[in-house]
Symmetry: C2
Subunit: 433 residues, 2 copies
C-alpha cells in the first residue's frame, strides 16, 4: 500500500488570506522528493474544533502521515500541540528540561528589548514546553520545539508531525524530523514516484491539450503517466509523475512535445529561465563567453534587477541597474536623448533601445536590458494601452533585439509578466551565440 | 444560524507547491468583507475522488457555501464542473449557446497562433460548455464559464460556486456570482463581523501575548473578541474580529495596546507602511510637504524601488533608483567616493550615507535612501556577517538617519526584510516633520 500524506496549515492569518502560506508548498515539494503522495492540504484557523475536524478528515481518508505547520508560538491562540495531543489520545505534560532549553535560547534574544516582562517570558516557555506524552521532541530552531506524535496503537491512525509556522524554523526542523525513527516508520511503504518538468514559453495552454490528444492517437501509453499542465508567470509548465517502470512511456511523450513545440520548449531538465540566464551569463552557453549585465527599467521599477539578483552569486555578473521612472532619470542617469522621448514617447521601441544601450554603456556591461511600458491602472491611451511594454536587449557584438508585448491583467501582473518576457529575451539573445 | 463557508482550491500544480495559490486568500478576504465566516480551505489535486472527498467533508461540517477555484480549462485534467455536478446529483448537459459564446471569445485570441488546430479548439469549447443541469452560468471572463450549483433540494447541502483558476478571471466573476439569486439565497443568514487591524514594528510577538494577559487582568472583555497575532514581513499584525455589540470592548483593547506600545504601534486603521509612506511623500504628513524620492540599493538589488513603485500613481513621487551592485556602479553611477569604500568597506554606515546622498542628488529628489548589506549565502565575515544591512535615509533639510540591522533568515528573507526596515525608516524620517 502506498502511504499518502496530508498537510494541515494552521493560523487564522493564513486562512483569512492576510499571510500567504509558504509552508504547504515547501512541504509538498519535500514529500514529492521522498516519493510520498500528497492527497490534501487543509488550511484552518486558530479554532481547536476546526483543526481537529481537519485531522479527523485526514484519518478518515486513510492518510498515514499528517504534517502541521504553525500554532506553536507563545500566544494563547497557538494551540496545535494541545489539539494534536487530544487527537492522538495523549495527555499533555510539561517537559521541564525542554522549558529550560527554550529559556536558554530566548535569553540572548531579549537583550534587544531591555524593558521586557520576565514573567511573560517564563509563561511563554512553559506553554511551549508542554507536549503530548510519548511524543518525540524536535529541538527548537527558533524558540518553538516541534513534535512527532505517533498514534497510541500502531495502525491506529496517522502519525502527526507538528512543525512551527516561520519557514526558516520549519525547514531545518523537517530535516531533523526525517531522522526520527517514528517518522521513518510512518514513511515506510511509500511508493517511489519520478517527476519530470517541461517548460514552454510563447504559446497557449490549449496547444498542450492538443499534443496530449495527439499522443493518445499515436498510441502512447499515457495511462501510466500523470500529466498536469499549468500556466505559471506566463510560461506553460508540464509536470509528469510516473512510477519507475513507465520511464519509456515518459521518454516517448517528451519526444513528442519536443517535436511539436520546438521553438517554445526551453527547458527539459526542470531548470527555470532564471537559472538558464544565470548559466548563460556565467559563460556556460553555446558561445561560452561569460558576460556581465545591467538594466534600465521604467515600468518594472526595479523588479527585473531584483529578479536577476535573486540567485546567490549573482554579483559575479550583475553590474547593476537604473530605475528610470521619470523622464529626467532616463535622460540624466541612462543617457536617453530627450529628443527621442519627445519624438516617440517614453514607451516606444526607440526609448527601449536607448535604455538598453545606456544601461550597457553606463555600467560597462556586456548585456544591457531596457524595459519601458504602461503598467497601469492609469496612463493608458488608445495607441499605448495599459499592458503595452517595449523591451530591448543589447549584447556586445550582436544586433539589438527589440520587441513589444501587450500583457493582460492588473498592474502587478503586467510588471511581473514583463520581467518574464525580459528573461526570455535575454535567454534567446545569449543562446544565439 | 451563521452561514459558514469553505474554499476548495483545485489543481495538482497548487497542491504540489509548484504554483502558489492566490485565489484562496483573495476569496477569503471577500468572504470576510461580506461577514461570512470561513471555516476551511482545502487544496486538492486533479483527482476526482479527492475533490469529491473534500466537498463531502465540507458538507459534513455543515458548511452552507463552498467556493471552488480551478479545473475549468480545456485539458482533460480540468474536471471541476463534472465533479461538482455529480456531488450535487445533477446530470451534465451541453449548453450549445454557451459553446458558441466561448467560440466567439476564443476566435480573436487565436490570431496570435496561426497554425493552431481547429478541431482541438472545438473540442475545448464543447468541454467547457458542458455543465450540470440547473446550474446558473457565470459568463466567461477568459474562456471558461463559472457556475453556481445549488443542492437538488433546498437544505440538502452546500451551494457550490465554481470559479476559474486564473485570478484575473476569477476576481470579476466572483462579483458576477454575487449578483445571482442562488448565491444570495446561500448567503442569507450570515453573521456580520467587524474586523480591525493594528500593526506594530520593532518588537517581538511575545510582547503582544503579555499585553493580552494584562488586558485580562485589567478585566477587559476579551471573550467577545477573536484576537489573532502574527509576524508578517518583520511586523507584528494584530487582527481582531468581533460582532457589532463588542465594539466597546475592542476600543478598550486598542487603547491598551496604544498605551503599552506607543513607539511601535504605527497603524491603527489597517493602513500598511507602504501606504503611509506613499501618503507622506504625497504631502499628507504632519509637515504637509510633498516630496520626491530616489533610491540607491546594493543588497536589495532593486526590490526597494520595486516596492516603492508597487502602488498605482507612484510615478508622481518616485524619481527612480540605482541598483549599485558593483563597486564601480556605486562610484560611477551614484558618486560614492572610492576612498570611502576602500576605508570602510561597501557594507558600512559611511557608504549607506553616501548612497542615500548620491541617490538624492543624482535624481534631484527630496528623499534619498541607501541600502547596502550582506544578503548571503556567501560573502559574510565575522565582522560583517550574512544578514548585516546598513540603511540610510537623507531628507532635505533634516539630519540623515542611519542605522544597521542584523536580519535573520536566508537570502530572500534578508532582502525582503531589509526593504521593510527601509520603509519604516522613511516613514519615521518623514513623520518627524
Amino acid at each position: 500500500m502506498s502511504a499518502r500524506a496530508g498537510i494541515v496549515v494552521t493560523g487564522t492569518e493564513v486562512l483569512t488570506g492576510r499571510v500567504s502560506d509558504r509552508n504547504g508548498p515547501w512541504l509538498a515539494e519535500r514529500l514529492r522528493e521522498l516519493g510520498v503522495d500528497l492527497a490534501y492540504t487543509a488550511i484552518v484557523g486558530d479554532r481547536p474544533e476546526d483543526m481537529e475536524a481537519a485531522l479527523r478528515f485526514m484519518a478518515d481518508q486513510g492518510i498515514a502521515l499528517v504534517l502541521t505547520s504553525g500554532g506553536l508560538g507563545p500566544t494563547a491562540d497557538d494551540m496545535t500541540a494541545e489539539v494534536v495531543g487530544r487527537f492522538q489520545g495523549r495527555e499533555m505534560v510539561l517537559d521541564e528540561e525542554l522549558a529550560e532549553r527554550i529559556a536558554e535560547i530566548v535569553r540572548p534574544l531579549l537583550k534587544r528589548w531591555p524593558d521586557i516582562d520576565e514573567g511573560a517570558i517564563r509563561a511563554a516557555n512553559v506553554k511551549q514546553a508542554t507536549i503530548p506524552a510519548g511524543a518525540t521532541v524536535l529541538e527548537p530552531v527558533g524558540t518553538a520545539p516541534g513534535l512527532v506524535v505517533p498514534p497510541l496503537a500502531a495502525g491506529g491512525g496517522p502519525t502527526v508531525v507538528v512543525l512551527p509556522g516561520p519557514p526558516r524554523e520549519l525547514q531545518p526542523m523537517w530535516q531533523a524530523a526525517l531522522d526520527t525513527d517514528t517518522l521513518r516508520a510512518a514513511l515506510s511503504g511509500a511508493t517511489v514516484y519520478h517527476q519530470r518538468t517541461l517548460r514552454l514559453f510563447g504559446m497557449p495552454e490549449s496547444e498542450i491539450a492538443e499534443t496530449l490528444r495527439v499522443a493518445e492517437r499515436e498510441g502512447l501509453e499515457l495511462s501510466t503517466l500523470e500529466v498536469t499542465t499549468c500556466l505559471k508567470r506566463g510560461e506553460v509548465e508540464v509536470v509528469t509523475r510516473f512510477e519507475p517502470d513507465a520511464e519509456a512511456a515518459y521518454e516517448a511523450f517528451e519526444e513528442l512535445v519536443a517535436r511539436r513545440h520546438p521553438d517554445t520548449l526551453f527547458s527539459r531538465d526542470g531548470s527555470t529561465v532564471d537559472e538558464q540566464v544565470a548559466a548563460l551569463l556565467r559563460g556556460s552557453g553555446p558561445s561560452g563567453t561569460p558576460r556581465t549585465i545591467a538594466t534600465a527599467e521604467s515600468c518594472t521599477g526595479g523588479l527585473l534587477a531584483g529578479r536577476l539578483t535573486d540567485l546567490p552569486g549573482s554579483s559575479e555578473y550583475v553590474k547593476g541597474g537604473v530605475v528610470a521612472y521619470s523622464d529626467d532619470a532616463k535622460v540624466g542617469l541612462v543617457g536617453v536623448p530627450r529628443e527621442l522621448i519627445e519624438a516617440h514617447g517614453a514607451v516606444s521601441a526607440q526609448v527601449a533601445d536607448a535604455l538598453a544601450e545606456g544601461a550597457r554603456s553606463r555600467f560597462a556591461a556586456g548585456v544591457g536590458v531596457g524595459v519601458t511600458g504602461v503598467a497601469g491602472p492609469g496612463g493608458g491611451t488608445p495607441e499605448k494601452p495599459v499592458g503595452l511594454v517595449w523591451l530591448s536587449v543589447a549584447v556586445d557584438g550582436h544586433e539589438t533585439m527589440t520587441r513589444s508585448v501587450h500583457l493582460p491583467g492588473g498592474r502587478a501582473d503586467v510588471r511581473d509578466r514583463a520581467t518574464t518576457v525580459a528573461m526570455h529575451m535575454i535567454r534567446r539573445a545569449l543562446s544565439d551565440g
